[in-house]
């Protein structure tokens, strides 16, 4: 068979090969409950495996349909919610309907008597401390009977004073969440005197107060677990989680079993977005009931309970004063911010966000309330900072009469990728032909068109936390395994694709296994760290398997080990005298009975970190009704080395759509007098629907040529709300400073209603 000349084989030196490797310090990402934190660690300083040049990639950096797509589109994919086991009981939870209450009555006996009810568990029999605080659980033979049981409890609550809104919570003598009151100690940064002086000296100054609501993760699969414990020494927990290993370990603790005896299974999960790390109260309750009954327990939260008790993106109020020179250069920046994270501290990225001012000062305080604690939510703290930031940038630009793109470029680092991204986004959204560049359009007619911009940044780096195994069997089958989880980001697909690339195989020839705590350890999937942590470990395992396979074949065929090429045509070698070729299957047939295994760990040089993203939005506003229709959203985003362009675009578009919801319709509404949430369901809590999806342009910024993998899920969710708010103002002069931008607020901003 005719062969092309063999290029010199890449050097594949692995850690095991290196002699007493030197150490070096690198910066990496450590995620604590979904929050991306930079830390310095020491790693071996050895030459190591590298990704092939982009032009030579056959599988990666292309559109790869997800390998579990056929299961997902046919209903075959099994989620935790779908697990059915013999003897399984259904459990449901009763939660506190008020932010603080005394539990006056709970008719446990009546609930026990309900036909089908097998267990009643009182979680909190005396008083409750927040809206949604779990009170009791009922397990029954059927879902309906469990609900009957909850009703039979006929609970009676006596209201205790509460704080569920900013005004009440910050009054002196307000019902307090902690013994130190509701208002946290201010966290400050910068020099206030200098910032005030810089503002005083600025020719242009603006001051405004912005407000963001509490946003819900709104995962379609609610939080929950199926605990398979039937007595004995082993248990399996099916868990909808972003951290399969951690969940299994927590379950072991509640079940009173050694961690080694509890398996966590998470084949597919219906959304997490930062809200599903720990097992939470409902997970503990399910384990307790299973332990008691020695029967499998299915406990998935109902939709209302999901809204009340499964965390959220914190809200907040920020007052900003900012100034700029005549050329648009920011001078001073003063922020006073309050975070609304319920029982939690809330989350807010540093302001000024992405942009810098000559002098800045900020003071940030938590305001505690009797509501569930905020959790990490896709880019924790960042959309809350981006919306006021981008808004005030525009407010300054209009005040100074400067082009909206120009003022951004002026205040972002000259060498930052945002510069080219702004040009590209401006081109895609049609900025050059847009009439309102330095002042908003008039509120006339029924369709005022406006454009707005926003930028964001995220780390998305990896860490050495994943253990991957690549196995090649004698029959030619290949498995790549790690106990990680696929949140819908496409983890399973790149695990298969990276291995396929290494061996010249089609993606379908590699099985990817994940979502099982018995498999290799994996990082918790939060803060966009999974891909940059896991993909390098997969590559490392695959490369080691390739070297081992080549070494094996060299011995079998009597050829030098470094001349093998794994191509779609087969395994090729120029040979000592004549070229040889062997089919994959035939080559695998020469392996010993146990096949071939290789383990991989994180390789720093295969990952990178630091992603910039720029978005633009075009909207139509009807100044008569206040209705906002987002027509077009553009996103230009760096991604490092793209693994799967199809899944990347989906991630980017998905982020933009979540930002769209944050901008125009989403927000928890609490009635402070009644102490209830008015919209704990998908009818009243409105996420974007098909009719509101604008034209979407998701652009992978290929001018970012770094040969390292980066997580990309967070950046696209950040700048959209600011861009849309700015576009609404640009269209007709309606500056809405409180999200979501509902028609009433647009009309109010136009002075049409008071």
């Amino acid at each position: 068979m005719a062969l092309e000349p063999i290029p010199s084989a890449p050097i594949l030196s692995t850690r095991e090969d290196a002699q007493a490797p030197k150490k070096k310090k690198i910066k990496t990402t450590k995620v604590v409950n979904g929050v991306d934190t930079e830390v310095e660690i020491e790693v071996d300083d050895v030459p190591t495996v590298a990704w092939p040049e982009r032009s030579k990639l056959r599988v990666l950096n292309h559109d790869i349909p997800r390998v579990d797509g056929p299961d997902k589109v046919s209903g075959a994919a099994r989620y935790t919610h779908d697990v059915r086991l013999p003897g399984m009981v259904y459990a449901q939870i009763l939660v506190s309907p008020l932010p603080r209450a005394k539990v006056v009555k709970l008719d446990v006996e009546a609930a026990r008597k309900v036909k089908g009810v097998v267990h009643v568990l009182v979680i909190q029999g005396e008083s409750t401390g927040w809206l949604g605080d779990p009170v009791a659980a009922v397990a029954a033979e059927t879902l309906e009977a469990a609900q009957d049981g909850l009703r039979a409890l006929a609970p009676k609550f006596e209201a205790l004073p509460w704080s569920v809104d900013h005004e009440t919570a910050t009054k002196s003598g307000a019902p307090a969440v902690t013994k130190n009151g509701n208002l946290g100690k201010p966290e400050t940064d910068g020099d206030e005197t200098k910032a005030r002086a810089a503002l005083q000296a600025s020719p242009t100054r603006v001051k405004a107060t912005y407000q963001v609501p509490i946003q819900h993760h709104a995962c379609l699969e609610t939080h929950g677990v199926v605990v398979d414990y039937r007595g004995g020494t082993e248990a399996t927990v099916y868990c909808s989680t972003q951290y399969t290993h951690g969940f299994a370990a927590e379950a072991a603790e509640v079940l009173g079993l050694p961690a080694s005896s509890v398996t966590g299974i998470n084949e597919h999960m219906g959304g997490g977005f930062g809200s599903k790390f720990g097992m939470d109260k409902q997970g503990q309750v399910a384990c307790q009931i299973a332990k008691e009954l020695k029967r499998p327990v299915h406990l998935m939260l109902g939709r209302r309970e999901e809204f009340l008790m499964s965390g959220n993106r914190s809200g907040g109020i920020q007052t900003i004063e900012a100034g700029c020179e005549a050329d648009g250069k920011f001078t001073g920046f003063l922020v006073q911010a309050f975070k609304h994270g319920g029982l939690g501290r809330g989350s807010l990225a540093a302001l000024p966000y992405c942009y810098s001012a000559a002098e800045h000062y900020r003071s940030v305080q938590s305001v505690r309330m009797h509501l569930d604690a905020n959790r990490a939510m896709r880019a924790p703290g960042s959309p809350q900072a981006s919306f006021p930031m981008e808004s005030i940038v525009d407010e300054l630009a209009y005040a100074a009469g400067i082009d909206l793109v120009a003022i951004r470029k002026r205040n972002l680092p000259r060498d930052a990728s945002w510069q080219r991204q702004l040009d590209r986004a401006a081109r895609e959204i049609g900025w050059a032909d847009h009439p309102h560049k330095t002042k908003p359009g008039p509120a006339l007619g029924t369709e005022c068109i406006g454009i707005g911009f926003g930028v964001s940044a995220w780390g998305g780096g990896g860490a050495d936390e994943c253990e991957v195994e690549v196995r090649i069997e004698r029959d030619g089958s290949v498995v790549t395994a790690c106990g990680s989880q696929d949140l819908g980001t496409g983890t399973r697909t790149y695990m298969a694709a990276i291995t396929a690339e290494e061996f010249g195989l089609p993606v379908a020839a590699v099985a990817a296994r994940l979502g099982n705590s018995r498999l290799g350890n994996s990082v918790a999937s939060g803060g966009s760290v999974t891909t940059a942590s896991l993909a390098p470990a997969v590559k490392d395992a695959a490369a080691k398997a390739r070297v081992a396979f080549a070494t094996h074949l060299a011995a079998v065929l009597g050829l030098p080990g470094d001349g093998f090429r794994f191509e779609p045509e087969g395994i090729l070698h120029d040979g000592a005298k004549a070229p040889t070729a062997m089919s994959w299957k035939k080559a695998c047939g020469t392996l010993p009975a146990e096949g071939l295994r290789a383990n991989g760990r994180w390789v720093e040089s295969l990952a990178s970190r630091g992603v910039n993203c720029t978005q633009a939005a075009r909207v139509a506003v009807d100044p008569g009704t206040g209705r906002v229709l987002v027509l077009h959203m553009v996103c230009v985003q760096e991604v490092g080395l793209p693994l799967n362009r199809l899944a990347l675009r989906s991630q980017i578009q998905g982020g933009m759509i979540q930002a769209l919801g944050y901008a125009i319709s989403e927000g928890r509404v609490i009635d402070p007098v009644l102490g209830i949430q008015l919209n704990p369901n998908f009818e009243d809590y409105k996420v974007p629907h098909a009719l509101e999806i604008p034209r979407m342009t998701a652009i992978i910024d290929d001018e970012d040529t770094r040969q390292g993998v980066i997580g990309v899920g967070e950046p696209p969710v950040i700048p959209g709300a600011g861009a849309i708010a700015n576009a609404v103002h640009n269209a007709c002069g309606a500056r809405v400073r409180e999200l979501p931008i509902t028609p009433d607020k647009v009309l109010q901003a136009l002075g049409k209603v008071v």
Partner: protein, 225 residues
């Protein structure tokens, strides 16, 4: 729902609406919002008669109580299952059927999200708003009846090709809703497609890919490929 002439409890009859008629005639509305504690208490807590077979939906009024055995035509096969009068089609498929059909998802349980969409006599319906016992005699098609991982329908193939699912929890509902739309008109426009799945919710934000997938499938179906 496919209301026949014998399925109309409204108008002047509404005044004497009884529980049995309520079940028989207004199932969709009942499960969604009207079903009250009184009814649930009655059927769930009171002494129950033993499981008894219930015939196909009769023409006249009918009283159902306790656990009843019914037969439903699901994905072209008759299936016997035991339900309560209040059991929704969604819960019947997911928790009462053996083996369970869990491709139909339970997300909001009140007709807000479309994840539980199935076809009833070819029409897309929220299965959380249908009472199982009301559907005796109807042809029910779930996501599992449209294709299998090894043998996907044209639309399902295009969903995979265009990345129409991310977490995938909403996907079956979208596939079912759009299947019905393309069956009505393979040349459905993007506006038609958006209308067809306006009642389906996706949190990951896969809608743009879904529209592309639907248009591509429509083209293939129209061309007979």
């Amino acid at each position: 729902m496919a209301d026949g002439p014998d399925r109309n409890p409204g108008g002047e009859e509404a005044a004497d609406l009884s529980r049995r008629r309520f079940l028989r005639g207004a199932g969709g509305v009942a499960a969604g919002g009207v079903i009250g504690p009184a009814l649930i208490g009655a059927s769930g807590c009171a002494a129950q008669p033993a499981t008894q077979p219930a015939p196909a939906v009769p023409k006249g009024p009918e009283e159902l109580a306790g656990e009843i055995e019914i037969e439903l035509a699901i994905n072209g096969r008759p299936s016997k299952l035991t339900v309560e009068p209040r059991t929704t089609l969604l819960d019947a498929l997911r928790t009462r059927l053996e083996p369970a059909l869990t491709g139909t998802k339970s997300v909001c349980d009140r007709g807000n999200c479309g994840a539980c969409t199935v076809l009833v006599d070819g029409e897309p319906r929220y299965s959380c708003l249908q009472l199982a016992s009301d559907l005796r005699g109807s042809a029910i098609t779930t996501i599992e009846g449209l294709g299998t991982p090894a043998q996907l329908s044209v639309l399902q193939q295009e969903f995979v090709a265009h990345d129409g699912s991310m977490c995938g929890f909403c996907t079956p509902g979208f596939v079912v809703a759009i299947t019905a739309c393309l069956k009505r008109d393979p040349k459905a426009s993007e506006a038609d497609i958006r209308g067809a799945c306006a009642g389906n919710l996706c949190r990951c934000g896969t809608q743009p890919q879904i529209f592309e997938a639907a248009l591509a499938a429509g083209r293939r179906i129209a061309e007979g490929k």
